[in-house]
């Protein structure tokens, strides 16, 4: 089977890539486009470290054939980061020590962004539910949950992210 051109919007920019059949979005992002903020913890949909946003919703890029994103909006952590400074979710993770080894952080932050976009005042249970697909093996979940709550407060206070 031949490779084909797939066009999609990556972090707000029109992007065209040659995609071999069955290549995952994770591989395209990391190996062809150099967007390595998207991680590769298990490559079988178990850890959430490869989470990206597809039209604003969190998806596992390790299970998603790249062909399926044609014509759609993909956001990686590189796209969330403003030119100067940090997105309020990133600031909250930094300020609340919600990063340890850093490997789950990109997925956690994007999952949080998607949660707060659809629910600006999540309960603690809703936060826990939202990040349940993102594994932190340093087990720093308390700090992460507190960071998500702080990000919700910050965003409500008018510091809107992009």
């Amino acid at each position: 089977m031949a490779a084909k051109v797939v066009s999609f919007t990556l972090n707000g920019r029109e992007t065209e890539v040659m995609v071999k059949p069955l290549t995952t979005l994770q591989v395209i992002l990391r190996e062809q486009l150099g967007h390595t903020a998207t991680k590769t913890g298990c490559r079988q949909g178990g850890c959430g470290s490869c989470t990206v946003l597809l039209n604003g919703e969190p998806v596992l890029s390790c299970l998603l054939p790249a062909e399926d994103v044609a014509g759609q909006q993909v956001t990686t952590l590189e796209g969330l980061t403003p030119i100067d400074g940090l997105h309020p979710v990133q600031s909250a993770f930094f300020d609340h020590y919600a990063v340890q080894c850093g490997y789950c952080s990109p997925g956690m932050i994007l999952t949080t962004k998607a949660l707060l976009d659809r629910n600006s005042t999540p309960s603690r249970e809703e936060v826990v539910e939202a990040i349940s697909g993102n594994v932190c093996r340093c087990t720093g979940y308390t700090a992460i949950i507190e960071a998500v709550e702080a990000a919700a407060q910050a965003l409500k206070g008018g510091q809107n992210g992009r």
Partner: protein
């Protein structure tokens, strides 16, 4: 001296101690700019995948690579013949021996998943396909998976030394002898015996183990690795490859979760060798399945306690026989058992102690470091045993711990004098946090008062 010393220290304001300091690596982590080893890509980079043993114990008759070589993108294979010093043990750096583990298996495999040959290919997919096409002619051997079974006469022999235990200065175990346990048991009102077992635990770091080795124009090799022990890995790699240390440049410090699971120097020697043999950058990163199956887990342990206790709750003798399941090779377990022997009697002062701590070889995946290894499972057994003693004697479990707790100046079974001990203060603080009201006589105790020498 006493608890007030600690309170005074806590009142003092420091610039760093007691203050929150921003994480130096935090900015990279929240922006995704941090480069982990898997993020390192070079043009022309080859991918390495291992041919692994499908069985726990077998004689290797032959390995046939002819079909693997036909896979498009196949570059070459490495076997034990390519490795300059194939048999090694990582703790040779601190004098542990003999060397026991092959980088690549020679004529026998001793655990399921043991590396037998390395395949190099232009893409990861080609490497995986070529590995699948390697034909193994193996003659399966009886295997042993239980530490006590492994020490019985007639058990399948795992180690090349001819015995399934690590030899400590001529002895079959690490021994500690302090006082006279038989005399202690004779004085005791109760004998409390129990066996405790723990199982292997995998660290399962979110980032799997791996490295990228790149040959440089000046003849050196740069190795990007997520090892937890950078120079330890460099030194072992240089020894295995028989090259001067300065020929290797190790780059690391960014580890996506380790917890002890990334100190074993498993991927660096073969990947560096592959880069030297091909003149190309080489990447070798474990799949999640490899991480779960072949990266060293916390070892399984078995601990047998026999304690002599008086009616008033004083432990007067403690005899421990313990076994670490090292799996097929040394790795860090000989060291773990020594550390274990120094701690397995617990943070209690006992006048008569007898410890036989064994490092046993079986056909399990080799175990290794994991957060306090050797001591963590001892603490599990010790504290269950303390509760059992409390129930047997009919005393409160807190009381049993306070009256036997070691104090500053006490001599430990391995002859170290206890210093900077705050065990009693820690238990008092823990009780307070847990909302448990301790009786006055326990609150009055401290780690500096040895009851006029009556204690222990």
């Amino acid at each position: 001296m006493g608890a007030n010393v600690l309170e005074k220290a806590a009142e003092k304001k420091y610039r760093v101690v007691g203050q929150s300091v921003p994480r130096r690596d935090g900015m990279g982590h929240v922006t995704g700019a941090t480069k982990f080893v898997g993020d390192v890509h070079y043009p022309g980079m080859l991918h390495l995948k291992m041919v692994r043993s499908p069985v726990p114990h077998a004689k290797i008759n032959s390995i046939d690579f002819s079909e693997a070589e036909k896979v498009p993108g196949f570059v070459r294979v490495l076997t034990h013949r390519d490795v300059p010093k194939n048999i090694y043990t990582i703790l040779c750096l601190i004098g542990v021996g003999p060397d026991d583990e092959p980088v690549l298996a020679v004529d026998r495999v001793r655990y399921q998943g043991e590396p037998m040959a390395a395949i190099l290919a232009e893409t990861e997919e080609a490497a995986i396909e070529a590995v699948a096409k390697v034909k193994l002619d193996l003659e399966e051997l009886p295997a042993v998976f239980d530490v006590e079974e492994a020490l019985k006469p007639g058990a399948p022999i795992v180690a090349d030394t001819g015995v399934n235990y690590f030899i400590y200065e001529g002895h079959h175990c690490r021994r500690v002898r302090y006082g006279d346990v038989e005399q202690g048991f004779a004085q005791a009102d109760f004998i409390v015996e129990e066996t405790y077992n723990t199982k292997p635990i995998e660290h399962a770091p979110t980032e799997t183990t791996g490295c990228v080795a790149k040959p440089e124009a000046d003849g050196r090799v740069t190795v990007h690795t997520n090892t937890q022990a950078l120079y330890f890995s460099l030194d072992n790699t240089a020894l295995i490859l028989q090259v001067p240390f300065q020929k290797l440049h190790f780059v690391g410090g960014t580890v996506g979760g380790g917890f002890g699971g990334k100190v074993d120097v498993i991927t660096e020697p073969i990947t560096t060798l592959a880069a030297m043999k091909t003149g190309r950058p080489v990447k070798f990163i474990y799949s999640r399945a490899e991480e779960m199956q072949v990266s060293s887990p916390r070892s399984a342990w078995r601990l047998k306690y026999k304690d002599g206790v008086t009616k008033d709750g004083r432990i007067v003798a403690r005899q421990i026989t313990s076994y670490a399941d090292a799996g097929a090779y040394n790795r860090h377990t000989p060291y773990a058992v020594t550390k274990h022997a120094a701690n397995v009697a617990g943070p209690y002062t006992i006048p008569n102690v007898h410890i036989d701590a064994h490092c046993v070889f079986t056909n399990h995946t080799p175990g290794s470091a994991f957060r306090g290894f050797g001591v963590t499972m001892a603490s599990f057994a010790i504290e269950l045993q303390m509760d059992k003693i409390a129930a047997t004697v009919g005393l409160d479990p807190w009381e049993i711990r306070f009256i036997n707790a070691y104090r500053n100046g006490d001599v430990r079974p391995h002859r170290k004098v206890a210093e900077d001990v705050t065990f009693i203060e820690t238990m008092q603080a823990a009780a307070k946090l847990a909302g448990h009201d301790l009786p006055e006589h326990l609150l009055a105790m401290n780690s500096w008062d040895r009851n006029g020498g009556q204690h222990g």
